[in-house]
């Protein structure tokens, strides 16, 4: 994945910073609660939501099962429609292909449609290194780009920023990138939007090359689909002479008919809209209309390895709606940056350690960035059982096991740093397998209860830093049960 996030600290450390930042906490809380409530209303309007969710899950599962066939069909359809298909095994290869294609045009700048795939591979940075400037045109992406920041949310990359901060960024940075912000810019939404519109318009009208991702690719016709709210995407897709789309191989649907499901579930789940304000579709090239050259870069970057895992592969159903982020109590407090990936929140916690492997500190910590409350699974429009995959990946981290990396079967060793925990789990299993041992331990704890400290040493410190411990009872239940013959005998008092 992107080099942008290399060297991120493990999740708990990154989250520690975020939890202490009151402005960030307030921004996140306000935004996630607002979208959450709107989504619930938008979903409640649809009487067949459960059926739509099941249909989406099935279409995606079917497509993933036959991905080899549908990818070949897509390549044939795109080629027949006048497009050119490129295959990229990883981020470096995809970046090389795109940079090469831009250079062939002789241009040194591109306009971009908001795209998770290009964020994932760090395309902007790679183009910059080749002397090509990439301009983000989505309002939130623009805020992030101008602020030299990282996206914090899949749908609302600047969710962590408030209006005052955005005004500051525009006033300070716009002149560096093109048309400066108007004099005396205030933080009213209309003025901020107007400043962005004027700044971007200049880019749209000048750029000869557009770069996009896609929400869906229809195998039968070779059609790509982008849904958006602002209309900037459509400008980038129609005005440039060359269009380059970088798309993850899991974005395929077999037929146009399949789109009817996702064009209902995606907007309601993500922006709580009944329909996306802009739904753009493009199929190869057409004389006198739109780009004269169209390139499709099909991106693997860990997806086939993910597909090889029978529990984890369901993460590839994801349609990037971000509903799981908005209901996640952990995301709400830790913010998107703590996840160390362009895919934050619950879906990021299962997607990143699969796409990138669990080798780094941050990736090994992500499966634990959840209380397993299940709110994410409940809202997921393609029914990804995120808690199930989280537990599956925890198992991979602590126990190791067989995985597929770069197409090869390898057996992972358990990650470092879990030795004490593993020993404790084994000891607990040993005691719990022997009721007598458990009972002896309970009795010892009860009899020595007046000696117990109020705070705990070692890993228990994390508990007693913010919570009091429960008082130990005078006798465990099983002793009471035996002493009173199941509550039928003399209650008395415990010795």
């Amino acid at each position: 994945m992107s080099g942008t996030f290399v060297g991120m600290p493990a999740f708990p450390k990154a989250a520690h910073e975020a939890v202490g930042n009151q402005t960030l906490r307030a921004n996140l809380r306000h935004a996630t609660h607002t979208i959450r409530a709107k989504r619930a209303n938008a979903v409640a309007e649809v009487s067949d939501w459960a059926e739509l969710r099941e249909a989406g899950k099935r279409i995606k599962d079917h497509t993933l099962r036959h991905l080899d066939r549908y990818l070949v069909q897509l390549e044939e359809s795109v080629t027949a429609a006048g497009g050119i298909v490129h295959w990229a095994a990883d981020a470096d290869e995809a970046n090389r292909i795109v940079a090469g294609l831009v250079k062939e045009t002789g241009e040194s700048e591109v306009v971009k449609v908001k795209s998770m795939a290009t964020q994932e591979i760090g395309l902007n940075e790679a183009l910059e290194a080749e002397g090509i400037r990439a301009y983000e045109t989505d309002l939130a992406e623009l805020i992030v780009q101008l602020g030299k920041d990282r996206p914090s949310h899949i749908l609302v990359p600047a969710i962590h920023r408030n209006r005052g901060e955005i005004r500051e960024i525009f006033a300070r940075e716009m002149s560096e990138w093109g048309r400066p912000a108007p004099e005396g810019l205030t933080d009213t939404p209309a003025e901020l939007a107007d400043a962005a519109r004027l700044h971007l318009r200049e880019k749209f009208l000048r750029a000869k090359v557009g770069v996009s991702g896609a929400n869906f690719m229809v195998a039968e016709t070779g059609t790509l689909v982008v849904v958006e709210s602002e209309g900037n995407g459509r400008m980038c897709l129609t005005l440039p002479e060359t269009l380059i789309s970088v798309v993850g191989i899991e974005k395929i649907v077999p037929t146009w008919r399949d789109l009817e499901v996702f064009l209902q579930t995606l907007p309601r789940s993500s922006t709580a809209e009944r329909m996306n304000p802009y739904t753009s579709t493009w199929t190869g090239t057409t004389d006198g209309d739109g780009p004269r050259t169209f390139h499709l870069v099909l991106l693997d970057n860990g997806r086939t390895d993910t597909l090889a895992d029978e529990v984890g592969r369901q993460a590839l159903r994801c349609i990037r709606c971000s509903a799981c982020l908005n209901v996640c109590p952990v995301y709400e407090r830790a913010g998107g940056h703590a996840y160390g990936s362009v895919y934050p929140g619950p879906i990021g916690a299962i997607l990143s350690p699969q796409l990138r492997g669990t080798g780094s500190e941050i990736d090994a910590s992500l499966p634990y960035a959840s209380s397993l409350c299940g709110a994410c699974y409940e809202v997921c429009p393609v029914a990804i059982d995120i808690p199930e995959v989280l537990v599956h990946l925890r198992e991979r981290v602590v126990q190791g096991g067989p995985v597929t990396r770069e197409g090869n079967k390898v057996v992972l060793k358990p990650a470092k740093g879990h030795g004490a925990e593993r020993a404790a789990m084994r000891a607990a299993r040993w005691a719990f397998s022997r009721p007598g041992a458990l009972r002896a331990g309970q009795r010892l704890a009860s009899r020595t209860r007046r000696l117990h400290p109020r705070t705990l040493p070692g890993p228990g410190k994390a508990w007693s830093a913010s919570r009091d411990l429960p008082a130990l009872p005078a006798e465990p239940f099983r002793d009471w049960w035996q002493r009173t013959n199941g509550g039928t005998g003399d209650e008395g008092t415990a010795k």
Binding site: Y377, P435, F477, R478
Partner: protein, 251 residues
């Protein structure tokens, strides 16, 4: 009817009063309760932390101990969800790993017979008014595994509404996780503590004297946060409220 009480290792060790309340309540409703002394732990902490292979012997032990009973009742939504939701999955995983159907077959008998307490009262016994008396203002926190794992829905609230003297007040953000999450509370203690503090502040805003839930693990985290934040509220397990009568108040 005779049932086995699966108290859970946490309740047995730390919250015996909940066990005594379940026994009292079920006996009052004419149910014969047995407590199999060989019971230990369902393996949830192991499974959820990634130690599925350590959880397997505990699940087999659970089946050995409880398999012969007509019904198994537990006052814990999360341990109930472990048996009902995750035991079948453990069986499937063992099969996928080429270890045959043995584990699935061993665990299958206990899965449909395991009930969370409020579920057992409403669905099996068919009662919502258990004859309890509890003259306090109470707010109810539906724990995640009870709410989304087992789908307890309105059952606990139905039971609480029928308690004489009890005033039930709605908890803002009730469906949100309290931040316990087993080992999550240790591994991500900053986020866990922030979630717990928000839950306690929401509870405090109701003006209730008592926060009640059907899972003592969550109550341990919420209660520990309540005393640390000096709220004066008390965490009480729903079984203790339902067991309480005018003659013999239990909580």
């Amino acid at each position: 009817m005779r049932v086995a009480l699966f108290l859970t290792c946490v309740n047995d060790t730390l919250y015996p009063e909940t066990g005594r309340a379940v026994v009292k309540l079920l006996t009052r409703l004419g149910v014969e309760v047995d407590f199999p002394m060989a019971q230990t732990c369902c393996g949830q902490a192991h499974y959820n932390t990634g130690y599925r292979h350590e959880a397997e012997p505990l699940a087999r032990h659970f089946s050995d101990v409880f398999g012969k009973y007509e019904a198994i009742v537990t006052p814990s939504g999360s341990c109930g969800a472990m048996v009902r939701e995750l035991y079948p999955r453990m069986g499937e995983r063992a099969r996928a790993e080429g270890r045959g159907d043995t584990l699935a077959a061993t665990l299958a008998p206990v899965v449909p017979k395991t009930y969370e307490l409020t579920e057992f009262l409403v669905d099996v016994l068919g009662v919502t008014d258990v004859g309890a008396y509890y003259p306090h203002t109470v707010t109810y926190h539906p724990t995640c595994h009870g709410l989304r794992g087992l789908g307890l829905g309105e059952r606990p609230r139905q039971l609480l509404r029928a308690v004489r003297g009890l005033e039930l007040v709605e908890l803002p953000g009730a469906d949100e996780c309290c931040g316990f999450g087993g080992t999550f509370a240790l591994k991500n203690s900053d986020v866990s503590a922030a979630m717990g503090a928000d839950k306690v502040r929401n509870a405090e805003s109701t003006g209730a004297e008592v926060l009640c839930a059907a899972d003592n693990s969550c109550l341990m985290h919420i209660g520990g946060t309540m005393t640390r934040l000096r709220t004066g509220m008390r965490p009480v397990h729903i079984a203790e409220i339902l067991a309480s009568t005018e003659e013999e108040p239990t909580a």
